[in-house]
Symmetry: C2
Subunit: 142 residues, 2 copies
DNA sequence: TTGCCTCCTGTAGTAGCTACAGGATCAAGA
DNA sequence: TCTTGATCCTGTAGCTACTACAGGAGGCAA
């Protein structure tokens, strides 16, 4: 069973932001949206993040880097939190995400092709008769 | 000099939305953000879109399809509106956009590769010891 | 005239943050 | 001990590019 490793004492929010590379306010945002648990507080109300909190943030940041949405991460975390997730469930979420990434790549490559095509027709001169503008203006509406 | 073609009488917003495939509210949004000029109105205040308005919307929609941001489209349109744009300026905007699309593709392909790698390590079974979770949890913070 | 559809305006919600205001707390130096 | 400046707290507004809704007015056919 995967667990978040524990080994160092608490950090305040600013220090956690620095070490994780995450924006200060984003940490609070992840708390309000429920991705991060509410951390312990000092008597004065300052947040103190345990090693478990730090690992959880790292998990979130890594998942975001890989393009998972907040809701997808919420699903991943809730499976882990419940404790009895199967590897198959995690795999399904991941491959679904992979498919949407692949689709996005395909879309962007079409787009890239089109942009190359229309910009290659352009003489780049001072002539104000522009094939790019013509291409963008396109045919009249039906 | 490129111009927007004119040939049919005015349309109301709903009709324009239907023909252009653009959402009804989006048309108003483009007006408030200044991409579309304020159209003529009937006595009762209903918007009436001329052929020029329709061409302009088509230009915007096509540019959005190609992934230009609203600000990029604003630049393109203001060059056209000023009337004395050079084809070189348009070409520059387009190739800048093309570069950002290409960068995005490169980023997504790395991401796709990583997702494939981590999900291929997974046995997909009921075993709750998941290499994907391990990969996402990653190494401890510095 | 009744009913229904479209139109109008202003405003709020979406994702995923980021930034700011106005106040409290902390830690180090004089 | 006092002061100064950094950091913390909360709540709220802003960003992009839309989309949706509420509540009211106009248009048109039976």
């Amino acid at each position: 069973m995967t667990e978040f490793t524990v080994s160092r004492a608490g950090l305040k929010r600013g220090e956690l932001a620095k070490r994780s590379g995450c924006n200060l306010e984003t940490i609070r945002y992840y708390e309000t949206t429920g991705l991060l648990h509410e951390p312990a507080r000092t008597d004065a109300g300052h947040r103190v993040y345990s090693e478990v909190d730090q690992s959880r943030l790292r998990f979130i940041l890594r998942s975001r880097e890989l393009g998972f949405t907040i809701e997808e991460i919420r699903s991943l975390l809730s499976l882990v939190d419940d404790g009895d997730y199967s590897c198959g469930e995690i795999h399904t979420l991941t491959t679904n995400h992979l498919q949407s990434v692949s689709r996005k790549i395909a879309d962007l490559r079409k787009l890239e092709r089109t942009l190359k095509d229309i910009s290659s027709e352009c003489a780049k001169g001072n002539d104000p008769d522009c094939p790019i503008i013509d291409a963008l203006a396109g045919p009249a509406m039906k």
